[in-house]
C-alpha cells in the first residue's frame, strides 16, 4: 500500500507504529448534516441540547417544546421522531459523535466518541447511502449523513446551533467559513470539534491523505507528489460538485509545505 485516506486522522500511537513515519495531508473537507424527512418543513432549527437529545432518545416528538422554541414560525406536527444511524464503522460517525460529545456531557458519558457506537435509540443503516435510504423511507425520520448525500437525494437539512448560539444552515460557504477560521498545528491534525466563529457550521472535518514520510522508490514518490499537488490545486475545483468543501488557501499552503517534507 502506498497511501491511504480517512476522515479520522491517525492518533500519535498509531503513527508511532509506522516505522517509516507518517505525514497527514488534508485533501478535502466535508460537513455532516442532520437530514430529515418532514415534507413542508424545510430548514428546521435544532438547538445544541436538541441535537444531543434526539440521539439520546430524550427528544422524541417533532413538536417537542425544545424544537418548537427555536422554530416559532413552524407548526410542527405531533409526530414521533425516528432516528437513523450508521450501523457500520465510519469516519462520519466519529466526527458526528465527537461533536455531540463536545456539546453534551450526557452524550459523552452515555455514548461517547468512536467510529461505531451504540445509540440508545433508532435504527441502523449501512453507509451514508443506507442512512439516506432510511430517511427517505419514512416520514419523521432524522439521520446524520455527509452533506453531498443529503443534497444529491434532495433531503431536507436542519440548521444547527453553533457555539456562539447562532443557527447555521449547512452549505459549502458556511463550512468554508469554519475551515478558514482554524489555526492548523504543524502536524496538520486538527479536529474542529466545536468551532467558535459566529457563522461557523458546527460539524466539519478534513479528509486526510495518509502518506509515508519516506518512499524508497523515487519514481513512485514523484508520481505521488504530482498527484497530491494536483489534488491540492486543480483538484479542489471538483470538490464542490461532489458535495465536499474546497480547502481555503492557507490550508492548501500548509499542506503543500508538508508534502515537500516527504522524500
Amino acid at each position: 500500500m502506498d497511501f491511504g485516506a480517512s476522515d479520522a486522522a491517525m492518533s500519535d500511537e498509531e503513527i508511532a507504529k509506522v516505522p517509516s513515519g507518517v505525514v497527514m495531508i488534508p485533501a478535502t473537507a466535508g460537513e455532516i448534516v442532520f437530514a430529515y424527512n418532514l415534507p413542508g418543513f424545510p430548514g428546521i432549527k435544532l438547538a445544541r441540547e436538541v441535537m444531543a437529545g434526539i440521539y439520546l432518545g430524550t427528544v422524541t416528538k417533532w413538536n417537542d417544546p425544545a424544537i418548537v422554541k427555536a422554530n416559532p414560525d413552524l407548526k410542527l406536527p405531533n409526530l414521533a421522531i425516528q432516528v437513523a444511524y450508521r450501523s457500520d464503522g465510519s469516519g462520519t460517525t466519529y466526527v458526528f459523535t465527537q461533536h455531540l460529545s463536545a456539546i453534551s456531557a450526557k452524550f459523552d458519558d452515555e455514548v461517547g466518541t468512536d467510529k461505531s457506537v451504540t445509540f440508545p435509540v433508532g435504527v441502523g443503516g449501512k453507509g451514508n447511502e443506507g442512512v439516506t435510504a432510511l430517511i427517505k423511507q419514512s416520514v419523521g425520520t432524522v439521520g446524520y449523513v455527509e452533506y453531498g448525500y443529503a443534497k444529491d437525494n434532495g433531503l431536507l437539512m436542519a440548521s444547527l446551533q453553533n457555539k456562539s448560539g447562532n443557527f447555521v444552515a449547512p452549505d459549502i460557504a458556511s463550512a468554508r467559513e469554519t475551515l478558514s477560521n482554524l489555526e492548523l498545528p504543524t502536524n496538520l491534525r486538527i479536529w474542529p470539534v466545536d468551532p467558535e466563529g459566529a457563522s461557523d457550521y458546527p460539524i466539519v472535518s478534513f479528509t486526510w491523505l495518509l502518506l509515508y514520510k519516506k518512499y524508497p522508490n523515487a519514481e513512485k514518490l514523484k508520481a505521488l507528489k504530482e498527484f497530491v499537488n494536483w489534488s491540492l490545486a486543480d483538484g479542489q475545483s471538483f470538490s464542490e460538485s461532489l458535495g465536499y468543501v474546497p480547502l481555503p488557501a492557507p490550508v492548501v499552503e500548509k499542506a503543500k509545505a508538508a508534502l515537500s517534507t516527504i522524500e
Partner: protein, 316 residues
C-alpha cells in the same frame, strides 16, 4: 501353469486399488466427522479472549459498545428468540393448514400439485431476495399497521411507539413465510404417515372429515407436527440475511414488536466485515452461542421426529 498365477497377481494388483479406495472413503468420512469439531474448535479458540474476559456475563448483560470494549449479547439472544417464536406463531396455522390441504383430498390432485409447487418455490427463493422484497412490500405494510397500532393500542407495551418500519414484527412476518416450507413438509409427512386403517375406521364410525381430522388424524400426527414446529424454530433462529435487512439491527431490549431489534445472526452479518480486536473475539463468542442454541433446538426436533417415526412404525 503360468496363466492362472498371472490372474492372481493381477487380481491382487486390483486389490491395491480397492484398499486404497476404501481408505480414501474412510478418510473422507473421518474429515466429515471431524469437521463439526473443527468448526467448534476454531470458533472457541477465536472467542477465547472474550470468553475469559466476560465469562457468563456475556450472556446476561445488554451492552454492545465496541468503543468501550463492553460486550454482552442479551438483547440479541432475546431478539433471536422473540423473532423466531413470533414467526412460528404466524407460520404454524398456515403450515398445518397447507399440510392438511396437501394430505387430504378437498380439491383435485392438480390443485394440490400446484400447492406443492408453490411451497417448494417458497423454499427455493434466496434469503436476500426475501429481504429485498420485505423492504419494498412488508416494511410499508407493517409501518402502516404500526402507526395505527400505536395510536389505538399504544397502551400495551407490545405496541408502544414510535413504530418503525424496520422492526421485530417486519422481520417475523418475513421469517414466517421463509420457514413455512419446513413446517409444511415435515407436518405433511406426519399426516401422510397416519395409517389408512385409522382414517377409514373413523369415517366408518360416521365422523365427518373434520371430526376425523381433529379427533384422530391430528392427534396421531401431533408429535410429527411438533417436530416440524421445533425444526422450523431452529431454521428461523439461524436465518440471517432477510432478518439483518429488516429488523433494524438495534442492540437495545424493547418490549415493543414495532421497535427495531437485533438477532445473533444479524449481529454477525453486520459487524464481522470490519471488526477489530476484542470485537472479533466477542463476535466469535456470539457465534458460539448461536451454534449452541440452534444445535440444541435441532437436536430436540430430530429426537421428537425419530421418536414419532418409531411410534407410528408399529401401526400399519
Amino acid at each position: 501353469m503360468p496363466a492362472p498365477q498371472r490372474d492372481i497377481i493381477s487380481q491382487s494388483g486390483y486389490r491395491a486399488g480397492p484398499d486404497l479406495f476404501k481408505i480414501l472413503c474412510q478418510g473422507a468420512a473421518l474429515v466429515t466427522v471431524l469437521l463439526l469439531g473443527w468448526i467448534i474448535y476454531e470458533i472457541v479458540e477465536s472467542a477465547w479472549p472474550s470468553i475469559q474476559k466476560f465469562g457468563l456475563d456475556f450472556i446476561t448483560t445488554s451492552a454492545w459498545v465496541p468503543n468501550r470494549e463492553r460486550f454482552g449479547v442479551l438483547p440479541f439472544i432475546m431478539g433471536t428468540l422473540a423473532s423466531s417464536l413470533l414467526a412460528i406463531l404466524f407460520a404454524f396455522p398456515l403450515g398445518v393448514s397447507i399440510a392438511i390441504f396437501l394430505s387430504e383430498n378437498f380439491l383435485s390432485p392438480s390443485i394440490r400439485q400446484t400447492m406443492r409447487f408453490v411451497v417448494e418455490m417458497l423454499a427455493a427463493i434466496p434469503s436476500v431476495v426475501y429481504g429485498l422484497w420485505g423492504i419494498f412490500i412488508i416494511i410499508p405494510i407493517v409501518k402502516a399497521f404500526g402507526d395505527w397500532a400505536v395510536a389505538s393500542l399504544g397502551g400495551f407495551p407490545l405496541f408502544s411507539g414510535p413504530a418503525y418500519g424496520n422492526s421485530l414484527l417486519t422481520a417475523s412476518v418475513v421469517l414466517a413465510i421463509m420457514i413455512l416450507p419446513t413446517i409444511t413438509a415435515i407436518s405433511r409427512n406426519a399426516l401422510a404417515a397416519v395409517p389408512k386403517t385409522l382414517r377409514e375406521g373413523t369415517y366408518a364410525l360416521g365422523a365427518t372429515r373434520w371430526e376425523a381430522i381433529f379427533s384422530v388424524i391430528l392427534p396421531t400426527a401431533a408429535p410429527g407436527i411438533v417436530a416440524a414446529t421445533i425444526l422450523g424454530l431452529g431454521r428461523a433462529m439461524g436465518e440471517t440475511m432477510a432478518v439483518a435487512m429488516l429488523i433494524g439491527n438495534s442492540s437495545r431490549l424493547s418490549w415493543s414488536v414495532l421497535s427495531p431489534s437485533g438477532t445473533l445472526a444479524g449481529l454477525l452479518a453486520n459487524q464481522f466485515g470490519e471488526a477489530q480486536g476484542l470485537q472479533v473475539n466477542s463476535l466469535m463468542y456470539a457465534a458460539l452461542i448461536l451454534i449452541a442454541i440452534t444445535l440444541f433446538v435441532n437436536l430436540i426436533g430430530e429426537a421428537v421426529l425419530r421418536h414419532t417415526q418409531k411410534a407410528t412404525a408399529g401401526i400399519r
